[in-house]
Amino acid sequence: MEMKILKEGSGEIFCKNTPSEVREWTRKNKTRALIDKRMPIKEAIKKFVHNGDYLAIGGFGHIRIPMVSIYEIVRQHIKDLSVAGHTAVQDIDMLMAGGCVKNVDIAYVVGFELRGLSGVQRRLFESGEVKKTDYTNGAMAYRLRAGAQGIPFIPVKVMLGTDTMLHSPGKVVRCPFTGEKVLLLPSLNPDVLIMHAHRADIYGNVQIDGHIVKDDLQARASKRVIVTVEEIISDDLIRADPGRTIIPFYMVDAVIEQPWGSHPGNMPYKYYFDHEFTEEYLAAGRDKDLKVIERWLDDWVHSFEDFEEYLTKLGAKRLYRLKDDEFLRVKNGGR
């Protein structure tokens, strides 16, 4: 008996890691001991993000995104990244503007939802300068689940019959139990995940408030994990409510405390979008004169030593307004 491959897509698999290799790598390279994993973001990015890596990004494109890590990757001129464009918005746009990206697995990119399309990404994708393979948000999540489970492929019931499938690496077979057609997708084990969470202890036990989106799966599938948090808390607090631990410590390589670390993104229950900031950034990226976006990057990324300087430039008043927005308060009502 056999399962015939009835149809298959032509999409390139950008992430070459197999679950077997990743498991072997994990054994040799990751400690299971409870050790203090705090370090400056500069060091974490230098140590754990390398040219040519396959990068996964936490949050949802402009919600709970690890902007402090994104800025640092741009600042360090890391090159030739492949990126999981698994709803990637402000995060991937900045990386592409900064010249860090070579390949993208696309589920959702280019768009800023209601704010329209990105000039930077259109330019790079339409010229073919950045390569791509198409998937869906569900498909990418299922690939990560396979990676987290340590299996090399997973059957799905999406993408079937479409060009999305034909531009993916998926293969259509019949289920050996029911006879129905399913699509097989290769698992995904990124080299490194950058993510931003509400809090963690120094060992890397991570809590997230609200929707998890895909950070749990990405942490489980990835080789290395860099977690920036709004706040570091004591492990006593973690132990008092262990059901809140979305990611256990042994998956995490670096913990960095950075309040406002998702700006200009929306950090649920903390601060809302900095709408004007993103509109200005988008406008710069849409300018036909490429110097405009370069100047923007100089002003907001390269000229700073670190994220503190960025926050200082934004100013406390502006940041606190984003808290008001988050909590639906009348603007400046009580201040």
Binding site: Y108, K157, L160, T162, D163, T164, G210, H211, I212, Y272
Partner: protein, 258 residues
Amino acid sequence: MSRNYTLRELMACVAAKQLEDGKAVAVGTGLPLVATMLAQQTHAPNLVIIFEAGGIAPQLPTLPISVGDSRTIHKALCTTTLIDIMDTISRGYVDYAFLGGAQIDSYGNLNSTMIGDDYEKPKVRFPGSGGANDFGSLAWETLIIMDRHSPRRFVKKVDFITTPGYLYGPGAREEEGLSENTGPSRVITDLCLFDFEPESKRMRLIACHPGVTVEDVIKATGFEIIIADNVRTTNPPTEEELRLLHEVIDPLGFVFKK
């Protein structure tokens, strides 16, 4: 012709009426979400809204500007993961998905990936599927909203099938492995309302907006459309609907620019 409403407002009202109370809808933001919120404020208070980023049944305080932003989990009954939402749709719990796109063909196939014929160097690169293909593959009914109804958007053949409609005709979805009894059920445009003829699975005109003729629709559509026996005229928005749209749902004017 003078009207006290815009076409986008009309589309929201027509779209809202497609949603039955007590059902579940998976929705992005923009006009589809406005329509969903309007349904909840009018005839469907018990409509369950599900967001792909993980928000289930929130009490939406105002229009979210992203399908994952804080508003989508405001006083939600459950916050979870994207994959859990996909699984939920796959398991049959979601009645409606609400989608749009850059191009659509007569079978309701949607393109939100690219314009052009060279995948490597498209004329325009759009966002891609996002959750659209997942929703359109797994939800029971797909409702489609398309503004700027024109032959450039309503085309014989889309440049790229991002999300499956009825693909190439009756039985095609099942043949390709998609779940049975699924597919697009309505297309709401700024000119009219389509359903799909059961036999051919092709788009069928069932109602024109006030002031729009069947001829207008034919001219604006790049493929041959089926015309129902009795083409109705859609109801214009009521005063109350307009009030809800502007005062309650989109007070900041994100969708209905002020």
